[in-house]
Amino acid sequence: MNRLKERSYTLGEIEQGKPCCVPQPHLQIQDLTVGYGAKTVLSQVSLDIYQGCITALIGPSGCGKTSFLSSLNRLSDHHADAHVSGKILFDGQDLLHDPVDTLKLRRRIGMIFQKPNPFPLSIWRNLELPLKEHGVRDRNVRHHKIEQALKDVGLWDEVSDRLHSSAMALSGGQQQRLCIARALVLEPEILLMDEPCSALDPIASAVVEELILRLRGRYTVVIVTHNLAQARRVANYAGFFWMTERVGQLVEFGQCQHLFEAPTHALTAAYISGARG
């Protein structure tokens, strides 16, 4: 039943934002090094995330892509023995060294996880709770924003008759789209996605992928994926991570098409051709 619904969904209107892919960095990462305790997992990563573009990060498991992602919204703060050094420039601030209000920062830089994690609340409360938390007091404004977010992810038509029933009863794909809506409702500028499709079946995965494509232009998206074909389909830019002596490093970064069609590094070529990894 849920499968059928997934298949017959329609994407809602996404408000037009700035034109796609401004060659202007939204986030500038310089010499980012991440470690846990005595172990370094990611070393000296420098790259720019361009505004309105989709940047895909590929590479084998355990090479620090998720650690990279969670440094960008300072979620790494909550890991007991994580240490992050380098610079992350966002809106004139160094997120790692300047005093940053992490709660406000995370409103501007949203995050989607591998496993859909809707709260065990109603569909409506899932979106209302973060809005209330960020001081949206007006009921009508909240109502409008929630409806818009659900339309943006194409869930509105599927769930508008059961907004007050549990979000946990939705199918996996619907849950993941709800999580995306929950991030979008806060009107972020950047969305960090950590393998958002890998826990979903192929049909649901295709739906979410199409949704990510629709986000291009309006949001800056950084997506970690193990699905190379997906990276190739959605991304404007791509970065390839690899582990050298057990430490993750960025091997190559550039325009997605370029990286896939004419990789400059032998490791990249081997990985995307399936010879290694």
């Binding site: 007991a80 496993k115 973060p130 938390e133």
Partner: protein
């Protein structure tokens, strides 16, 4: 063959436990009902408890329980939240708090009685009073309540904690609106254990709330708990068996009623927040 013997043995275990419980319960109900009348609940005891009823004793019991729960529940929930959400896993203070709680949970209740007598009755000058008794009960139920709630909170999925953080929610919002409601079954279990232990307590109350069987005029009056009353009738009053059984019947019924009440209260309070599938 071995499989059949095994399942048969397991079945016998279950039957033995149920049979023992039914035996005790039917004994209490049959013997208690013989001496029980509705008037028993509303009369004061006469002739050292052989005649009359248990009205003042019931009132004292409820006061003791109310004091114990009012003190222990918020305090216990606070400690549980601190242990599971805020204390880092390698914090010495947190570990020693945990060990202390485990030891306290195993301390015989007579020791709590002696402590309560020394601290509340004598040192704080509360004398033999409902307040001394209630506070002693609070100390006694605290360790079990804290540990049950803490374990409940720890089993709540980490995905929700990360999800809440990634949305820029404060930890207090996450705890109040998501984690505590999700830990509801454990909190209810802790509450039921606590109510059961406090209502059935004798030893801790002998030296703290005393055994005056008059209607208490204030919380600083001494008052006799139901369990103390049963103990007294059974051990010290010849010919008090009938009244003891009737009181036991009331005690068992009271615990069942209170547990049902506690469960439905906690459920209705949390269900307004939580919508489970």
């Amino acid at each position: 063959m071995a499989e059949r013997i095994f399942s048969w043995l397991i079945m016998v275990c279950a039957l033995l436990v149920v049979a023992a419980l039914l035996w005790v319960l039917s004994d209490v109900v049959l013997q208690g009902a013989a001496h029980f009348s509705w008037q028993f609940l509303f009369d004061a005891p006469t002739d050292a408890g052989r005649g009359g009823g248990i009205a003042p004793i019931l009132v004292s019991t409820l006061w003791l329980l109310l004091i114990a729960l009012t003190v222990a529940l918020p305090l216990g929930l606070g400690v549980a939240i601190w242990l599971s959400e805020f204390a880092s896993s390698n914090s010495r203070f947190a570990n020693s708090t945990g060990i202390t709680l485990d030891i306290l949970a195993g301390v015989p209740s007579i020791v709590y009685g002696l402590f309560g007598n020394a601290f509340f009755s004598i040192y704080l000058g509360l004398g033999f009073s409902l307040l001394s008794g209630g506070l002693t009960l609070a100390c006694m139920i605290l360790p079990v309540f804290v540990r049950t709630c803490e374990v409940g909170l720890r089993t709540v999925s980490n995905d929700w904690r990360r999800g809440a953080l990634a949305l820029g929610m404060t930890r207090s919002t996450a705890i109040w609106h998501i984690l505590l409601p999700a830990a509801r079954p454990a909190i209810v279990a802790g509450l039921i254990l606590s109510i059961g232990r406090a209502t059935a307590e004798t030893a801790a109350l002998l030296f703290t709330s005393g055994y005056v069987d008059r209607m208490p005029g204030s919380l600083l009056d001494s008052g006799r708990a139901l369990a103390v009353h049963i103990y007294d009738l059974a051990m010290n009053v010849t010919g008090g068996d009938g009244a003891a059984y009737a009181s036991a019947l009331v005690l068992v019924t009271l615990i069942i009623v209170l547990n049902t009440l506690a469960q439905s209260l906690v459920d209705s309070w949390f269900k307004r927040r939580l919508v489970l599938a």
